[in-house]
Symmetry: C2
């Protein structure tokens, strides 16, 4: 495959360059105008901003009702109501998952995300159907995206006998990560829940990504226990705690020691920075070296009709959540949806440097902070050296 | 002017109709296909959703740095720092206000807002310059929009001697509304501040729109005092309390009596529903009959780089803020940025009924909740019976 070049783009707002691509990777960054004229032009960037592709670190593709007629939300007020309601909605849903999640993946690509971690329900009501359907979709899109799958015991592990065996099946079939959920609030036996998911991680050589909605003192205590087990099992750098609402219930200064411990164990915190609940203090966590990533969570599903899979908008929402307005804070919000995600997901060849995968987004913006604030939809998305979306429209088959 | 017709649109998602327009007003709503073929077609709606034009009830057009190069935010952490920082930024700003606020007004029109209430700084540092500049802009855009102007003592009234005389000048020149600001937190003498702004309102026969950021017990006490004076002065239906963060600091049930009083006095609450601070309990207030409206507040100004003037996005942000997902809640969020704004601003001929001004927005959406969630940019905006914007681009001169 001969070299191609993206001409005249500004990486993260810096001086304009020509980006030479070979075999789907960045092979050189030359001053703008420096790439030979005879080299094939992939895109004339015309001075646009160049970003690494966005990282969607927490989504539930299997739950989405995307690309189907509007369905008024029918969920009750509690988490357990919502779990039951989802069974009712999805159990006999006429449109199969592939026809919902597939178009949603394409939509997310068009918004600039090329790295994903999707949780997949592993529950006795539908066994491992979600895993099987999503493995087929992963195969379909493997030339375009990296998609990690989490075996997620949405309905609990201990309280739903049979789930543990399904989790093993899901991991054997190819799920990359062991999921967990509210060891206290849902599963009602925090230590045993954690023991089981950590044992699964060790047995199958996988990482862990645990949903932790439990609030206040309870949730914080569980974060500490997750740290204990991460250390005891030697799973440093392989654990993500998703949501961790409880960490927003305390003055950040009270959490410094815990933050230092999370940093030392390389436990990442995933937050969607929702505005209606306490959320982890992202700035403090990052200042102590804790990696933070973000995601869309549910997108138009039985839980909520909200969401559009736009991780640049997620960065804006995070900035709004914390009242961030300084350039460095807006850049931090972008870091969370890019490098922070790559770190959490363990993506090695991520970024704009020579040798990185040519997974890129071009868009009109003066600089990185403006890109976050404005979220221009005029995005050109490049996957492994090919243009796969323009102006919000998915192109590649 | 002969009749024109918008064919095949669904008002708020209801059955498709043809909307006949005469002299800039809605003159008939006929079942779709019912308008005579020979009647001139203004727009073929092709089944799109029809909405009344959006109402921007709280914006600061005079502060915006819109249409100028990105300027890193330099504001300090407190409200007083920010006021001082704004003086530094705007005092010798090279681009005159008309070249910032004008393009911003056009941008807001393209997003579907045709009714505005803008606060304008009236301060000793620049006297009534902002008022004069904005009066000229109001004249420029009067064929397209309704723009109410608030004489706003941003730097305080009592603590900044000379401001009261400037407020009188601003009102004499044509400001429609008397502004106020944190009677306790900024002006340090709550009763005297309120006495002065209410006296101005009575003297000039204007309404009041007061910025109330004061938090907790202090802010709630001030809301009560504003109610006292509204009643004493007979200004029922003419007072808006903007922000009223304090009302979010208490369990909603504790505020029922106060809400009933606000409803009886027809005092509107304006909230942008920001996620980083306590906000008024919109659902409870509305359930007790209190009118709630919303706005963008600052848009890319010295206070914050955030904001895009999109009131449909504001409705989405409000829904996120309160974790609203039900259809009726999303419809309520839309009501806040439409009818709620019209009520607060006292716009009589607002809406989609026969006799209303033909100030309309068409956009692709299945129904009203989906319009709020998706915020499609493919909006056709009609002002007084003329198409003035399409797909985010302002057309009319």
């Amino acid at each position: 495959m001969p070299s191609t070049v993206i001409r005249n783009v500004r990486p993260l707002g810096r001086e304009a360059v020509d980006v030479v691509l070979d075999s789907g990777k960045v092979s050189a960054l030359l001053p703008a105008g420096g790439a030979p004229a005879e080299m094939s032009t992939l895109v004339d960037g015309q001075g646009q901003l160049l970003l690494p592709a966005l990282v969607e670190s927490h989504v539930h593709f299997d739950k989405s009702l995307w690309a189907t007629p509007w369905r008024p939300n029918s969920a009750g007020p509690t988490r357990n109501h919502r779990i039951t309601n989802e069974h009712t909605v999805l159990k006999d849903f006429k449109v199969p998952m592939a026809e919902r999640a597939g178009p949603l993946i394409e939509h997310c690509i068009a918004r600039g995300s090329l790295y994903f971690r999707s949780h997949l329900d592993v529950q006795t009501v539908w066994g491992i159907q979600h895993v099987e359907a999503m493995l087929a979709l992963r195969e379909k899109y493997k030339h375009l995206i990296e998609l990690q799958l989490v075996a997620f015991p949405q309905g609990g592990l201990l309280i739903a006998p049979g789930t543990h065996a399904l989790m093993e099946q899901a991991l054997e079939l190819g799920c990359d990560v062991v999921g967990g959920i509210d060891p206290a609030g849902i599963d009602l036996d925090p230590i045993r829940h954690l023991e089981q998911i950590f044992a699964l991680a060790v047995k199958y050589g996988r990482g862990i990504d645990i949903h932790l909605h439990d609030l206040g003192e309870m949730g914080r205590w569980e974060v500490e226990r997750i740290a204990d087990m991460t250390e005891a099992m030697g799973l440093q750098g392989q654990v993500v705690i998703s949501h961790a609402y409880s960490l927003g219930a305390f003055p950040p200064a009270d959490l410094c020691a815990l933050a230092d411990r999370l940093a030392a164990l390389r436990i990442s915190i995933m937050t969607c920075a929702p505005p209606h609940v306490t959320v982890p203090p992202v700035a403090m966590l990052r200042s102590r070296g804790v990696n933070v990533c973000s995601g869309s969570d549910g997108i138009r599903d039985a839980w909520s009709p909200m969401g559009n899979g736009d991780m640049l908008e997620r960065a804006m929402l995070m900035a709004l959540r914390f009242n961030w307005g300084k350039d460095e804070d807006l850049a931090a919000a972008f870091d969370v949806v890019s490098q922070g995600g790559a770190r959490a997901l363990g993506i090695a060849d991520y970024g704009l440097d020579v040798g990185c995968q040519a997974n890129l987004v071009l868009l009109p913006a003066e600089n990185l902070p403006e890109a976050v604030v404005n979220r221009s939809q005029q995005r050109t998305v490049i996957s492994r050296g090919r243009v796969v979306a323009r102006d919000g429209v998915f192109l590649a088959g």
